[in-house]
Symmetry: C2
Subunit: 163 residues, 2 copies
DNA sequence: TATTGTTATACTCTATAACTATA
DNA sequence: TATAGTTATAGAGTATAACAATA
């Protein structure tokens, strides 16, 4: 029914692995966003929270630079994380202009919960693959990410254009 | 130097294959967007153009529905494709309200060029993989896309929220 | 009266640019 | 004078709602 046979596969094949990756990546983001919606957080919040957890005590600008986002946007994100009681701003005693970022206790707990949700999402996503295939997929994706010089945990979409 | 050892790998691992996929997908999109920038088109244009090429003679609404985007946005996209001389609107003789979409000759040529650019982008992206691995990666990604019931050639980001 | 495509409006999001407080 | 963070402004992008033509 319908679906006229392509005259020329070569010509029709504008799409390839690149598109598939983009399509799947967007889908994965949206699925995760839905899963964490009850926490009141969005994926960028999670990336920020995680980064603060990994390396606490850095300034807002240091992290903003790493994520490629402007200071004003950073302020808004941290405001929200602080309003949720997940993060604390602490004045640097040596330079009272800077705010050092730390996880609040609730932030630690939230990270654990987010980790659980991420694992759930991953299990759902990779369900058609065998355990061996899952490992292999991750290994290949990691190799591509490395060859493209993507920074671990830094999503390119956070800062729109970065090159 | 720096990089304090994680107290607990379990707790730190908020990220996984889902994030990696999203990160790589966004990167892939941006790389492709840059590559096609000289044509004056963006990825959504390409998706639309391709869809029109595959199944010409459909109404704007039919395609808008498939892509999950509102009619008003569809108008803007088609306006642009038409301004580039790639697409033609033709009145349906049976129902003069609808516009049937067809490729202009320049549209066919553009698809061929876009196909070439997409292949270039893919080669660059998959360069750290062996030929066998590339095949295997695509096969696994396709299997995931199918299990998630994603429509071939329809990017979830086109219509923001769709569920 | 209902529907296709279009245009107008209103809203959200974001970057840029002032601003403040410290240095 | 310069810098970290904040607030204000202004612009881009988008959905929603009104609209015109046709059914």
């Amino acid at each position: 029914m319908a679906k006229p046979p392509p005259h020329d596969t070569e010509k029709r094949e504008v799409l390839g692995a690149g598109f598939l990756l983009s399509q799947l990546g967007a889908h994965s983001s949206m699925a995760f966003a839905q899963r964490i919606a009850p926490t009141g957080l969005t994926p960028p919040h999670v990336g920020l929270l995680r980064m603060i957890g990994i390396r606490p005590g850095r300034s807002q600008q240091a992290i903003a630079d790493q994520f490629g986002l402007p200071p004003s946007r950073m302020v808004a994100f941290i405001d929200e994380l602080e309003a949720h009681g997940l993060v604390e701003r602490r004045r640097d005693v040596n330079d009272r202009r800077v705010h050092l970022l730390h996880l609040a206790p609730a932030g630690e707990a939230m990270l654990a919960e987010l980790s659980r949700l991420a694992r759930e999402a991953e299990r759902e996503l990779l369900k058609p693959l065998s355990p061996a295939e899952r490992t292999q997929l991750k290994e290949m994706l990691n190799r591509i990410a490395e060859s493209q010089q993507l920074t671990e945990g830094v999503h390119p979409g956070y800062g729109k254009l970065r090159h």
